[in-house]
Symmetry: C2
Subunit: 201 residues, 2 copies
């Protein structure tokens, strides 16, 4: 009997259903991180989680929706950060944004889903769409609306480009000396550049 | 009879052998660009080029070496640019480096192998090593040696991070408005930032 049928018959309490959802998302995150979006199937996620594929579809929908749910849950510890980045004083928004981005990359819990997003987004349009929604809209978009300039979105994206590029070279492709440099030394160099993009002339 | 044996028997002129090498590299570039490094096999390249796998290995060696040769040939039109970027006046090196990078991304002939490098490097360590050799050593390394500062390599890599991030958001993940912005407008914003990383305080 699959978990879906047992759940419909009311034989498992809701907490167990929540546990199953969490287990599916944890497994999905690992599979997407290791293999990338294209090589990961809902079938493989279901198998690794010990459930039926139909249950995964029932809970989350399509593979793209499983991917987005897995990434969003993993980034939940940082979900209030974009608001905090955007809402503080404008003359230090560059440092707040820079510290937020390096913070989520330095933290192993959030680095794994970020690697999954990057690895998948460069190879697959559905995953790129998730990147655009989670990273660009939720982080850069909130910063852009605080800026009182006509090209605010472009400025925010060029600031984001500095940070995305740092993440690529430091955490993904691991270029030295950047990959091993003290993170505070890197932030000290990058934060003023990000600030300049956002509020400079 | 394979091309290798016919070649050894001297039945084909050298120009035809050169044509075969070129054809293999062209096919390899297309395969790596479309599928990424991991999903591309020497066998598939050989089949698409109409030759035996052994001939591909004979000419180029391992899959990593085929990849590097395919990328290097594709980037050949730009091969003198890194020297020209590095050798001009230091107070405009940021603009020269920025124009070089946007130039190779705006050109469809060089964009394809660059996409292949990026798509492959984020998912595979052998491809990441090629990225480090071709991009970091040959481009950023040449700029770094011109700088008379103790942290020249780190500065060059942070400048490179700005450019890599722009390429990711504009050409790979296609974030708007950056993806459709006029390239001269983007260069006007990015070049001073790159210059600042390299020669700023």
């Amino acid at each position: 009997m699959t978990e879906a049928t047992s759940r419909r018959r009311g034989r498992r309490p809701n907490t167990e259903s929540a546990d199953t959802r969490d287990r599916i998302l944890t497994v999905a995150r690992e599979e997407f991180s290791e293999r990338g979006y294209e090589k990961t199937s809902v079938r493989a996620i279901a198998k690794a989680a010990g459930v039926d594929s139909a249950l995964v579809h029932h809970y989350f929908g399509t593979k793209e929706q499983v991917f987005e749910a897995a990434i969003a849950v993993a980034l939940a510890p940082a979900q209030n950060a974009p608001a905090a980045v955007a809402d503080g004083p404008l003359d230090s928004v560059g440092e707040r944004l820079t510290r937020f981005i390096f913070g989520v990359w330095e933290n192993p819990t959030t680095r794994t889903p970020l690697l999954a997003i990057v690895r998948s987004a460069v190879n697959n349009e559905a995953a790129a769409a998730v990147f655009r929604r989670l990273v660009v809209s939720q982080v850069l978009g909130r910063v852009a609306v605080q800026l009182d300039v006509p090209d605010a979105e472009l400025r925010a994206e060029l600031a984001g480009a500095q940070l995305v590029g740092c993440a690529m070279l430091r955490y993904v492709i691991k270029v030295e000396p950047l990959a091993s440099a003290d993170v505070e030394q890197v932030i000290a160099r990058v934060a003023p550049v990000v600030q300049g993009h956002l509020t400079g002339p």
